[in-house]
Symmetry: C2
Subunit: 142 residues, 2 copies
């Protein structure tokens, strides 16, 4: 199945209408090996793509479980494509993220599950975000 068909199917499966911007944004995120900010996504879209539409697209993607926010230590919000089983009702991105201090990319470590912790009385956790900092595979000295 061609990549463009998969993109279209993702939109349909999550109850979103097909539009040019949506397909483009989803493709950029699906193909990126690391999380992207709004500005970085914009750079990878066709020129003159409207920035407001992009941000509204990111919001609807997040709401419908197509992408997830990736926490960062800076003041920009980053996004990555969700695993297939996420939906509008619930996100299942319980994996660790890794930010490289050298290349600054943030990777989804989909195979590393966030470990649970024991909380003080009366704190009830529902979501977990875990971000590691260090040197990524690509940036390791030889």
């Amino acid at each position: 199945m061609p990549a463009t068909d998969r993109i279209s199917q993702s939109l349909t499966r999550h109850g979103l209408r097909q539009t040019t911007v949506r397909r483009a944004v989803l493709q950029v995120l699906a193909e990126s090996p690391y999380a992207l900010s709004g500005g970085e996504i914009e750079q990878q879209l066709p020129p003159n793509t409207d920035r407001i539409t992009l941000y509204r697209t990111l919001k609807s993607f997040e709401d419908s479980g197509l992408i997830h926010r990736v926490i960062d230590t800076t003041d920009v919000v980053r996004y990555a494509a969700c695993s297939i089983e996420c939906s509008a009702d619930a996100h299942f991105d319980n994996h660790v993220h890794f930010k490289c201090t050298n290349c600054l990319h943030i990777y989804c470590l989909n195979q590393v599950t966030i470990p649970a912790v024991t909380l003080p009385a009366k704190f009830e956790a529902v979501t977990r975000d875990y971000l590691l900092g260090g040197v990524c595979r690509e940036c390791q000295p030889a």
Copy 2:
């Protein structure tokens, strides 16, 4: 020992000069039960305190190990006072943070240490950030 003396000593201990803004900012953060953004700190400072000076103060505090960034899922940066043993050379804030979905405050759970994870080959972690989401102690239904 009065609180103001402790504030002054902290600055000295971390090699920072005594200034009105610095003492004020450090006091606000030291007394806050939850992490604060730049804007929130500004509100708690004397009127007409210069915003640029505030941001430069936060930067120097972070660099010298007086405060640490608290990751959030939004596009604002938050800060909290560090534990006493942090310095310019190294931060030792290896505790979990908790963001309440009701009051939106982010608490340092200083007694809960971030659990380690096993990483894929060639990823080397140095820092860890762990943010829980849920309902905090104050906001629990009776």
